[in-house]
Structure formats: C-alpha cells, structure tokens
Symmetry: D2
Subunit: 153 residues, 4 copies
C-alpha cells in the first residue's frame, strides 16, 4: 500500500497512540509492539510464539486479527482530534495464507478519514526465513467518540 | 438464534472438535473452553482476565473475535465429513458494546452448510453480574479442505 | 428471524419510509416495492424480471443486494428521530444460492439501534413455485445523520 | 491500486469475460460497459442516469455495488482456467461518499488468486466535472466452480 499522506489534527498523535497501546494488557500478553506511527498509518509487529498457535502450529488467525485490528484502529486514531477516543464499529478480514513465520507485521492505512467515521485498510504479512508474504487483508470502520466514559482515549 | 437442526456426516463430530480445539494453544492461553458441541452449533466460553483487556479494562475486541471465530469454525466443522479440515476464508464482525462482564459466551450457528463452503453466524454475549448482553455479531465463511498437509483436522 | 420489538422515536416512521422510498428512482426501475414497515423491520419485495438477470437467467446478485440493502437501511430508519437521515456506511452480503424464482423477499431487522450507529441483519428469500429459500444474508451498518444537505430524509 | 501482474491460465480470458458480460441483462439495463480487461484487473464504467438514483438524485448505492461486484467477479474470472465458472461467495462494501457525478468507474483487482478461492479488491470512483473521487471500496471472495449446470461461464 502507498504511504498515507494526511495532516494530523493533533501534533501529539504519536504520544496518544503509545499511551493508549500501553494500557492494552492484551497487546502485552500476546507480545505485540508498535513499530511505525505515521499520520494515517500504523504498523504493529508480533513475534511468533507457541502460546499463540492454532492446531497446526501456525500463528492463530485470532492473533493475526487482534493485532491487525489494533493497527487499523490506531491508524484512524492518529488523525483524530486530541479529545477523541476511537471505537472499532466493525471489521472484515480475509485470511489468505496460514500464519507461518517467525515475525508478523500488521499495517493499517487510512482510506478515508472523517469527522465521525474513518475507514481503514489493513494488511498482515508473515516474515518466514526472510521472505515476506501477504497473509491477510482487513477493512475496518472506526468511529471518533467524544465524551463517553466507557470509551476514553 | 434458533437451534440448528442438521444431520452430521460424521457421528464422531464431537470428538473431532474436541481434539482439534485441544491442539490450539491460543485457546488455552486466553482461557477459552468448549461449552456446547451440537451438529451445526458450537458454544465457546471465555472468562474475563485482566491479561486480555484493552485500554479501558474491558475484554479486548480481539479476544472476543478470536473466540467467536473459533465457535463459528467449529460449528461448520461439526457438519463436515471425517476427512475434512476446516479453513476460515473470511469473517466480518460488528462490535455492538464493550466487553464488560465476568464471563463471555460465543455461539456459532451454521446458516447454510455446503460441500465446499459453509456460512456461519456468530453471536457473542457478555454476562455481567448475571445479566446477558449481546456484544458482537459475526458472519464467517468456512471452507472444507481435503488432503492439504498444512491444514489438517 | 424473530420479529423485532422496538419502540419508534417518531410515530410517523411509516410515512417517512414510504416518502423516501418513492423518491428512489432506482427502486422503481428495478420494480421493487415496500411490503412491510414495522418498527425495526422492513420487507421489500422484488418480482423476477428478465431485465435484471445475470448470465444464467437468474436474478442478478446486484439486484438482490440493492433491494436487501434498502430493506436494511429502512429498517434502521424506522427507529430514527424525525429529523434524521439514514446513511449506509457499509454492508457485507453472503450469497448462498442463485436468485432462482418468481418473487424475491428482502427482510431487514435491526440487531441493535443506537444514537449514531444502527446495526441491521438482512435476509433475502427466493420464492420459486411456492417454495421459499434463503438465498442471501447481509449485515449492514447504518448511520443517523443530522443537518447534512446532501443526505436528506 | 497498482496494476496487477498475473499470468492468465487461459489466453482467451478477454473473450470469456466479454461473452459472459454480454449475457448479463442487468448490466445492459443499468447501462454498464466493460472498459478494461487485463489479467487480474477489470474496469467497468457506468454513466449517470436518473433512473438509477436514490432519494437525493445521486447514483444509488445498489447500482455502485452491482457494477463494482461485477468488476471484482470478472477480475477473478480472467485468471481462471477455461472450463471454470465464477461465483461470488460474499463481498463487503464501504460507501465513502455519495454517488455524485456524470460517470462512475469501478475497478476490481485480484489480491490473491487461488485454485478454489480468489480474493479481489474493488474501488469505485465518481467522475464529477472532470474530477475523480473515491466513493466506495469492496473486498470480494470469488470461487472457481467446475461442472455445475446452474453456474456456467
């Protein structure tokens, strides 16, 4: 995917993403980390771990989706104003190949930002012995939320 | 959702589901367990755990999706012949409410089984202080796969 | 699907749906008509026409989707306040069987209404020589829009 | 989107697409025509017509989806062997902007071809007074079908 070219509303977008990510215990549990935070584009990486596998020893599709969904949500979040929280309304994922590899790279790129709704496209890649392979694509619909107690930044 | 009324092709469907589920390390890592295995319908339950939370302390959407996707995949698997493996081609999830509760119940029910393609609908419920609430819906497309080494039962 | 049980915010919901539907030239072009308008549930019917077929002489999937999408959008619209317009953000459709029949019935039922976002499930049935068959399922995400000139009621 | 770089299994792919398209009465009814047929990439164009509008006078989302779904299906079809038929299993569409313009261009590009399953991404553009705008994105899952009477080429 081409690099996104967006102007963030909040120059502190990177700190906001990092602060939110660090509060997600689930990301630490699965071992995911933030790799790139650009306006409209976030990359999350996830090393292979036996604890995250499905029945054939590959990375579980749920773990791919979890990290890819986060990359998409945070990509949208980079373009939101400082007082917005991000809420994933829905996503769709196509699983193209098994999660076979040592490292996985999940990339979310904003297709169209909006005041209320932001649409994001995600791609997950497996890096297997140095070769990168597209293993999943996602389309996610994210909402900017303001002033809701159960959905903070 | 109404109870599914399907005749399984393989009377050993329950054992097949249990054996496959037990090989999924990710399910054990997140603490999910099989609760109901009927022909065309599988329920997976997942207790709340702080290690699985998002930034507001609720169950991470990725964990909801992971367990719900498994319920859908295994619901399809119950209706497949004994030599088939199940592969999730794609799914779409709508997140309706935060994952607030002590226990989560994920239910997959087959909408239409097929020789190659089986479509399944999933619903995730949060049980919060005894009250049950619908928190997510899913539609998943599952494929029956035969004779592929990387996709065994 | 079970009948929806919702209380409309605007008692004139039926008139609003009818008035909007009548302004959709596309619905007249394909011959679709409103059959049921209940709070949270709308049924649209579409008779078979050779002009709407795909390469095998069955109803084109696009026509099924068009009418089913409208049923979902209007189902959401029945629950919105009188000054809201409805906008379809996205939908997903699974095509389960060919559009073979003399009449098609598209049913949209609200899963969860919301101030901004309403999620709707749709089902399309073909009536072929008196027998009804499920041919498609849809999940649609609808948005309530206020005060936008390009999106009126 | 980048141009797809695929080698077709059947050198007659263009004729097969044209022959199938011409048998789709619905495409003629709405006025859609084939504009580009490359291996793994098909573009369909659709001029604005009042008969295809929604309640605000813009192109109906159903017509956008119908033509975009066809572009995706035929993009997959270009890469299938000569004896295969193409069946759309499911698609998801995000509607990003109203269908405001004089001409609409729908582009389907194969993400990943497969023996049974081919995943395609679609983009719809409105051309409004010479300016082009992205108005919808689609992900479609297509299946290669062999030897079924109700699903010919």
């Amino acid at each position: 995917m081409a690099e996104a070219a967006f102007t963030p509303k909040d120059p502190q977008y990177e700190q906001r993403v990092r602060a939110s990510f660090e509060r997600q215990a689930a990301m630490q549990t699965i071992g995911a980390f933030l790799s790139v935070i650009d306006p409209g584009r976030v990359v999350i990486e996830l090393p292979y771990a036996q604890a995250l596998t499905q029945q054939h020893g590959f990375l579980h599709a749920g773990m791919i989706a979890t990290a890819l969904d986060s990359a998409c949500g945070y990509a949208a979040f980079t373009l939101m104003p400082h007082d917005a929280a991000v809420l994933t309304i829905e996503y769709k994922i196509n699983l193209l190949a098994p999660g076979k590899g040592q490292l996985f790279r999940m990339e979310g790129v904003v297709t169209k930002p909006g005041r209320t709704i932001t649409v994001v496209e995600g791609r997950a890649f497996a890096i297997d012995e140095g070769r990168e392979k597209l293993i999943a694509t996602m389309t996610a619909t994210e909402m900017s939320v303001f002033g809701r107690d159960d959905v903070k930044h």
